[in-house]
Amino acid sequence: MTAEVLLEIQDICKSFGALEAVNQVSFTIQQGQIKALIGPNGAGKTTLLNLLSGTSRADGGRIIFQSKHIQRRRSHQIAALGIARTFQNVQLFYNMSVVENVMVGCHLRGRLELLGAGLRLPGFAQEERAIQKAALEYLEVVGLAEQAYQPSGSLPFGQQRLLEIARALACQPKLLLLDEPAAGLNSRETECLGELIGRLRDDHCSFLLVDHDMALVMLISDEVVVLDRGRKIADGPPEQVQRDKRVIAAYLGEEA
């Protein structure tokens, strides 16, 4: 396999006081790959996603995305480069309708700022229409087109997760970070989610997936990275990782 490297993480570190949440972790994600990130609670998975999306800043190490160093960039700049994410505890804009949430995801493709919008400069209506059309298409992709004009808080939890994915897709990401997308979903919804991720991969999007649903992880991911107490303990195809002694020990709590 000679696929191009999309993201390279080198010796990344992050500590909170004495706790080393992420300690010298390195791995790569190739173009079009679905990479899963698993590990027991408190292993540092969400912290790592926060570092990748600029939500928090690494203490050391490098993150290289399409040959650009991004470890010191801010969230919105990272989003502009093509990394979008969802959140473990769903972060929707509950003060907006379903479609408006996705329209915020389309933010980067618009250009008019406060003054331009206030004065309705030429191109305003056109830009608004284009953004709304695109947002409705993303809702179609995740199957929420019918709920477009409802308040986002009125959706059941599973659909809120899908809405978050639609919003992230609207950023036109090259890499999508999904933080426990299957948490709180029933088995049928999880199955749909797996299919959705598969379909999106065919559209040349790569994924870094954090989840506790092992069936989903083993089914859809190309490679799995296992973290335990901030350190990487395994990295490879699902079958290999499943047999890894250190991984089994970490999950069962034995000394390796």
Partner: protein, 319 residues
């Protein structure tokens, strides 16, 4: 459509209200609502609080007063100068504070408001101190002097309509959604590509500009200024206007400015005790109408709509 209704209502006021005192109250409502509408964008959309907007209002008023009385500028030249100066100062306050999360802007603007008030009172050679600046020229458009309450009201109501239109356009745009997103969830807004600190700063500077424009109108309407209308108490009154009217809609600024201005006139006989009434109103509104009057009205509209939605599918089922 609301704006057309507002213009018609203003026209009726200008034609039918005979008492000059009542028209002067409408003028003050118009001036105050310019500030309150900008503050609505800042508070209701971006979720930031300023406790110093009276100072921006004062900066606009004093800048135009000084330029027109001491340097003999035309008011129409002084207007952009007043807005520009105020916006630059707001930028200098907002730039360092809005990068921080939390209510640092409230603290910074609180301190700034006090500094501006002291400067107005103490810099005698420039501001005239407590005795203020007088004989500020009236505005005139195409040779018509806006020197009566009624004529001034025509300009003031157009200014309010323009500001409302401008702000409603923003609210319903990419930038307005970005602001509401910042209010809804900062991390999610940032990871969706919204430059949150940048947007907070832009809307803060914009709202300061609106306040400066209001100060300009005040100066050339009253033709005399002193520090007192720009004190800390007025900053609080502005926040009360926004909270009472409802920060979720730019119309909240107009409604809140109307109510608080009329109330201020009604409470005049109580002297300084009126602040107690404002405090009580602020508490009651926060407890019973957390989204203000416009939020309360929208809630009713929303209830009606959701009831309609609940009925529709059952008709489908009957078929």
């Amino acid at each position: 459509m609301g704006i057309v209704a507002l213009l018609i209502a203003s026209g009726l006021v200008a034609l039918l209200v005979k008492n000059a005192y009542y028209i002067s109250i409408f003028n003050f409502i118009a001036i105050h609502s310019l500030i309150a509408i900008g503050l609505c964008l800042l508070m209701g959309y971006a979720g930031q609080i300023s406790l110093g907007h009276a100072a921006f209002y004062g900066l606009g008023a004093y800048t135009t007063a000084i330029l027109t009385t001491k340097l003999g500028w035309s008011p129409w030249l002084a207007l952009p100068a007043a807005i520009l100066l105020t916006c630059v100062i707001a930028y200098m306050i907002g730039r360092p504070t809005l990068h921080l999360r939390g209510h640092y802007l409230a603290m910074a603007t609180l301190g700034f408001g006090m500094i501006v008030y002291i400067v107005m009172k103490e810099w005698l050679s420039l501001t005239g101190g407590n005795s203020g600046l007088s004989s500020i020229p009236a505005l005139s458009i195409a040779g018509i002097a806006l020197d009566t309450d009624r004529r001034f009201f025509c300009l003031a109501s157009l200014a309010v309509a323009g500001t409302l239109l401008f702000s409603a356009n923003i609210a319903d745009s990419r930038a307005g959604r970005a602001l509401r997103a910042v209010h809804g969830s900062e991390v999610a807004a940032a990871t969706s590509g919204v430059d949150i600190a940048g947007y907070k700063l832009k809307v803060f500077v914009l709202s300061a500009g609106f306040a400066a424009a209001a100060g300009f109108l005040y100066s050339h309407y009253v033709k005399f200024i002193s520090p007192q209308p720009f004190d800390f108490k007025f900053s609080i009154e502005l926040v009360v206007m926004v909270v009472l009217g409802g920060a979720g809609s730019v119309w909240g600024g107009l409604i809140g400015a109307g109510l608080v201005t009329v109330l201020g006139e009604a409470l005049r006989n109580f002297g300084n005790y009126d602040i107690i009434a404002f405090g009580a109103i602020l508490m009651l509104v926060i407890i019973f109408l957390p989204n203000g009057l416009t939020g309360w009205m929208q809630h009713f509209r929303y209830l009606r709509r959701s009831r309609r939605l609940a009925v529709t599918p059952s008709i489908e089922e009957l078929k």
